[in-house]
């Protein structure tokens, strides 16, 4: 008889029973709705064992890559281990604090044990006193240190501390990674569009470099927006990347005060749709402020991008500042 390992328990699966039904029978809370593989409410992650393609039908590539499947659609034939959340924390030390713009600090971290992640995912960062915030990973796993872009938020507890008080070598704790906004190899002839404002650039910077270094062949367009040119950052690095990779294109948009032809005065969505009539067949990544993320993904979708090919990460502000 097959068993499901969940949270340290081995649960025997009844004949013909799905992973979802088995967990529910054992009084484990799993969100679910249609029980027919359509609504995707019962998404769960496999940490060991085999998941047939039929249990991942209709899921985004980034979810498949991380072992996610629909608990209602898998009747296990062999043993399988599943997890609903990742609660493991890893210690990390601050190895770099440098200013990328007046309001954005690059924080580099070295973990005491390696963590597996994809560029563009996010981690929750815990200070010693328990204060926690989530930040996206701009670094690539091969680079060693993790890189976060922290925008100074007025009266922000974590960002204020990281900008003004935190010292090198200070210990922090990381939980995660989480998020499904990252590059998956394959389809190297599929054009990629990345768009975001402010520190939405952090995950996009990671994802763009990940795609290029993994040999993505088709054009990769990165649109970075800010209110004024002061809010743009990593401009030198991104321009250098344009020289290194002929298929990489970097567009800067501001709402006002541009004094150079390299910086467009335009809204992000208008800049994008002004350049491409149809985005059918493209893959898109949108990150940053939730209102902008929602607007962009709707516009990209209506311009023909498949809903399954749009990966979004909305930065939800902390309610406690």
């Amino acid at each position: 008889m097959a068993t499901i390992r969940y949270d340290g328990r081995d649960l025997p699966v009844a004949p013909g029973e799905s992973v979802l039904d088995c967990l529910l029978r054992n009084e484990i809370q799993v969100s679910h709705s249609c029980k027919a593989g359509a609504c995707q409410s019962c998404l769960i992650r496999c940490t060991s064992g085999n998941v047939p393609a039929s249990a991942q039908f209709g899921l985004k590539d980034t979810l498949r890559a991380r072992g996610y499947f629909l608990a209602c659609s898998l009747k296990p034939e062999g043993d399988i281990a599943v997890a609903t959340a990742n609660n493991v924390r890893v210690e990390a030390r601050i190895t770099g604090l440098d200013r990328l713009s007046r309001s954005v600090m690059r924080v580099r971290l070295q973990t005491t044990e390696p963590i597996e992640y994809f560029a563009g995912q996010f981690v929750s960062v815990f200070r010693e006193d328990g204060l926690a915030r989530s930040y996206s990973l701009a670094s690539l796993p091969a680079e060693g240190d993790l890189e976060l872009h922290v925008r100074h938020i007025p009266n922000g507890a974590m960002s204020g501390w990281l900008h003004a008080e935190a010292q090198l070598h200070t210990s922090l704790w990381l939980q995660g990674p989480s998020g499904s906004c990252f590059y998956t190899p394959g389809s190297t002839d599929q054009p990629i569009l990345l768009a975001g404002a402010g520190t939405g650039l952090a995950p996009l910077y990671g994802i763009a470099r990940d795609a290029l270094y993994q040999g993505h062949k088709a054009p990769v367009w990165l649109f970075h927006g800010a209110v004024t040119p002061e809010g743009l950052y990593l401009t030198r690095e991104l321009s250098a990347l344009e020289h290194e990779f002929p298929n990489f294109h970097y567009v800067r948009c501001v709402l006002r005060d541009s004094d150079t032809p390299e910086v467009e005065v335009n809204e992000l969505d208008k800049s994008i749709l002004g350049k491409f009539k149809s985005l059918a067949g493209w893959r898109g990544y949108v990150c940053g402020d939730p209102a902008l993320v929602n607007l962009l993904r709707k516009k990209l979708f209506l311009a023909g991008m498949a809903s399954k090919a749009i990966f979004a990460d909305a930065f939800v502000p902390s309610a406690s500042v």
Binding site: C34, K35, A36, A38, C39, G58, N294, F301, L302, S307
Partner: protein, 128 residues
């Protein structure tokens, strides 16, 4: 395959099953989002979650496997009824559903069967 077997196939299989739902969902959702009669109801919703709901709806309307009850339908749409959801909006959705299937080359007969299933949820969706 004999014609007798073909006519006995359930509607969901005739339409092409889960793959047909997958093919229809983006076309249908784009129509709904750009239809001025109903697009306001979709303002500010999470697109990923909404696309999954559209899939669940299409699966049901295609006669596919689902466990939705009338009570589920009422609960899911109550907040929209409070915002003024009425017959004209319901009709618009059914119309978009039909034109989606037409675009995918589905026969009028099968479109009629899908519309009838959608129609059977009207009272619950509109909390009557």
């Amino acid at each position: 395959m004999s014609t007798a077997t073909q006519t006995e196939l359930p509607l969901f299989e005739k339409l092409g099953g889960a793959a047909a739902v997958d093919a229809a969902v983006d076309i249908f959702y784009r129509k709904v989002l750009t239809d001025d009669r109903i697009s306001d109801f979709f303002d500010g919703v999470d697109m990923d979650r909404q696309a999954a709901k559209q899939k669940a709806f299409l699966t049901m309307a295609f006669g596919g496997p689902n466990n939705y009850t009338g009570a589920d339908m009422r609960r899911a749409h109550a907040h929209l009824v409070a915002r003024g959801l009425n017959d004209s909006h319901f009709d618009a959705v059914v119309e978009n559903l039909g034109s989606t299937l037409k675009e995918l080359g589905v026969s009028d007969d099968l479109i009629g069967q899908v519309a009838a299933i959608a129609e059977s949820t009207r009272a619950d969706v509109l909390s009557r």
